[in-house]
């Protein structure tokens, strides 16, 4: 019985189909969730995909966070439901205060699309169990407002409690404080990532398959069994 993973579509979501593909490739059952209904249709986890919800005109994720489905996601997340926010999804999680800090305009004020080298700093989350600490990954990064910022206290706290999950290697692509590319909450069930693991699940269309294990970690399936 495959794990049911919900993928939310907001108006302006773009990588929702890709997140669903990644869930399928990881042996899960991808369940589309619409921003306007509060029902989570008893999914075992939720992905907030990348995109430009409501155009991201005001602040990325600022408007999406108020949609009915988010009310349900926020409650469920507080009760431990695994939630993964990718790019715009990460921004929504920050706006919804499920994760600390915020994401602002890239330092060079340009949208950046590149294959980004990352290091896994912590694996204590249902989304990262399949990785090794210190492991290096290459995953697409594509964002204009991807610079993670927070006050020093928050940053120190994130470091001290091992909640910095992935860090940028090489040149910092967007000015993120402390090269932060992804963080998790205290409980570990909520993960925010700026890079797009769902675009690194097939060698044919991505830099490789380094991203697949974020999804495999959740579904518990094993990569070998699934390679197509």
């Amino acid at each position: 019985m495959p794990v049911r993973v919900g993928v939310v579509s907001f108006p302006g979501s773009l990588d929702d189909r890709d997140a669903m593909r990644a869930v399928r490739l990881a042996g899960g059952d991808a369940v589309p969730l619409w921003h306007a209904d509060a029902a989570l249709n008893d999914v075992a986890a939720v992905i907030l995909p990348g995109g430009f919800s409501y155009g991201d005109y005001l602040r990325c994720g600022a408007i999406a966070r108020f949609s009915p489905v988010m009310a349900a996601v926020i409650d469920a997340a507080r009760d431990g439901l695994p939630v993964l926010g990718i790019c715009n999804g990460f921004q929504v999680l920050c706006e919804a205060h499920l994760l600390p800090g915020a994401l602002i305009r890239n330092r060079l004020r340009k949208f950046v699309c590149k294959q980004q080298r990352l290091r896994v700093e912590s694996t204590a989350s249902p989304w990262t169990a399949g990785y090794r600490e210190g492991e290096e990954l290459v995953i697409p990064l594509k964002s204009g407002e991807g610079a993670y910022v927070a006050d020093e206290r928050t940053l120190d706290d994130l470091e001290a409690t091992g909640r910095v999950v992935v860090r940028y290697l090489e040149e910092n692509p967007n000015g993120s404080y402390r090269n932060i590319a992804g963080i998790r909450n205290e409980a570990g069930n909520v993960l925010g990532l700026m890079p797009h693991p769902e675009h690194a699940v097939e060698a044919l269309t991505g830099p490789g398959t380094d991203g697949l294990r974020f999804f495999l970690s959740l579904t518990g399936a094993d990569a070998a069994g699934l390679q197509r």
């Binding site: 409501y54 155009g55 005109y57 005001l58 408007i63 108020f66 949609s67």
Partner: protein
């Protein structure tokens, strides 16, 4: 040294998608009483007193605003 504020807003006839997005959100949030929103830019400059108004206007016109679609006001 003085703090000078320059506000840049889209010309009234120019479409403002950002403002529209906010108006839409207000409806969904059930916030009543706000009929229209326009979003612009707000600049705070630390300026030496030697810099005169013409220089500021020049600066706003070339760097801070896009005269093709935006107007600006300077508060000294």
């Amino acid at each position: 040294m003085a703090r000078v504020v320059v506000d840049v807003v889209l010309k009234p006839e120019i479409l403002d998608p950002q403002g529209q997005a906010i108006v839409g959100a207000l409806d969904r949030l059930g916030i009543a009483g706000v009929s229209d929103v326009r979003q612009g830019k707000h600049f705070e400059l630390e300026v030496e007193d030697s810099v005169d108004d013409d220089a500021l206007t020049e600066l706003a016109d070339t760097l801070l605003a896009n005269p093709v679609i935006e107007n600006f006001t300077i508060h000294r």
